[in-house]
Symmetry: D2
Subunit: 154 residues, 4 copies
Amino acid sequence: MKKTKAFADILGIVQEITEKIPFNQVLGLTVESLDLDHPSVRLTMQPQLIGNFIRGSLHGGVISSTLDFMGGLVAFLGVLKTMQGQPLQVMAERFARIGTIDLRVDYLRPGIGSHFIATGYVLRTGKKVSVTRMELHNDERQLIAVGTGAYTVA
Amino acid sequence: MKKTKAFADILGIVQEITEKIPFNQVLGLTVESLDLDHPSVRLTMQPQLIGNFIRGSLHGGVISSTLDFMGGLVAFLGVLKTMQGQPLQVMAERFARIGTIDLRVDYLRPGIGSHFIATGYVLRTGKKVSVTRMELHNDERQLIAVGTGAYTVA
Amino acid sequence: MKKTKAFADILGIVQEITEKIPFNQVLGLTVESLDLDHPSVRLTMQPQLIGNFIRGSLHGGVISSTLDFMGGLVAFLGVLKTMQGQPLQVMAERFARIGTIDLRVDYLRPGIGSHFIATGYVLRTGKKVSVTRMELHNDERQLIAVGTGAYTVA
Amino acid sequence: MKKTKAFADILGIVQEITEKIPFNQVLGLTVESLDLDHPSVRLTMQPQLIGNFIRGSLHGGVISSTLDFMGGLVAFLGVLKTMQGQPLQVMAERFARIGTIDLRVDYLRPGIGSHFIATGYVLRTGKKVSVTRMELHNDERQLIAVGTGAYTVA
């Protein structure tokens, strides 16, 4: 897809907002890629993210927070694909309207690693609701957790 | 149920551990009640927990983190009911083995309020797996979110 | 709530359609009550609904089918409460638009019994999406399974 | 993996039981492949499986039933991979112990088609619990629904 200036701008805004959301800063989430088909977000291990002393593993809530955020991002990028040629303002308003309806998280392995990469893809982009799948791998490419979410997109 | 000393001790340990888990401290989770049938946990609004600037509402991940923690606590208290008369050490080991298998969260209203109360109850206490339902209300008793979780208990 | 003739009519239509849906007939689902706050549906055990020979218990899919149907019914009745005074045709069109977005089912006990009662309630009635909780009990009032669903309502 | 005679026998038993389960017969489920890594099950459209007259589409419960069955099958085949060299009886007993803990189904498109193929894969094979993802496509390879399930495997 050829990217217009508005397209480049909206991706800049998405990245900026992502990293300015207060709780995303607590988590230390940073955008790795806003490729429309293969976006990814990085989570760096920090002592305050630990849920289990003994194992030194991530709190389950850190994992669900990251997957929830990733799902919303994936849902928005899916919508964005259908908005080519639209003005920046319209795209930005659409971003502001993304909201999680529900989320399922499956915890597969303890969240142990120096950093983690969240990825995701859209299962369905609807006019009102999008459905996404998300995955979290650690720095050894082990699958730590997966998620499925439904998001309002309008 | 008549509470033995070991029982009082395990509840003290649960409260202490709960409030010492690093990410629970980030969230500011505190135990309100460890009543075996009606436990509750308090989450106090803080600027760093915000997910949506404009609304000033909780990040979805704060909500899922709180409900996930609550589900594990409820699952453990359900198991504890079946452990009367057992030594403290055995009960504490059981607590350490609680783990989330999976979690569903339904986001019903924006997480707006000065504080929030998470409650929950057991749907089924099994030998290997327990299933729980959780709810999060704000300080005006509005239902913000609900969850359902499956937890390993052995 | 005072019920208009259109209201009585729509409930008649809902009952008729419910029991005419081909797969509901296979399941043998019948409406017990269309009370707006406490609707219930009955499932009668039949040999063809068995999933486990040895136990003689319901197939998991019979349970999920029943809870899914119940969730949609509960979602519609929740919407109906907001439609008082509207013409029958408008209410009927709304019924036709109910659809399941996603569903979680937790299987708590084997589905053993002569019959089963599904109940449910709305957690949130939205303009676009409603969220419901459902429960299935057997004839001894044992809780067999619970569900949570998100439904499109517009 | 080299298949022993016991291995071939257990797959024969799995196929036979699958197609003899009363409610699977109602659904008309047949095993397409028991390849350990890429199993698949076929669902043939029949008038009695309809949930929506107007569209002529599958009842949501037919979809959840099929995905639930598929998840259990995938979970068992995942366990079977770890049981090489064990006697038939031990493998058969393991099959009998598979049970659904919980299931999430996301309905993406109306279930329209002459037949449908369910596939699935294991996300995690545990000693007690396995987690699987499932998908249902129609005869035009459109993705109709996906699922995620947790299954007891011991």
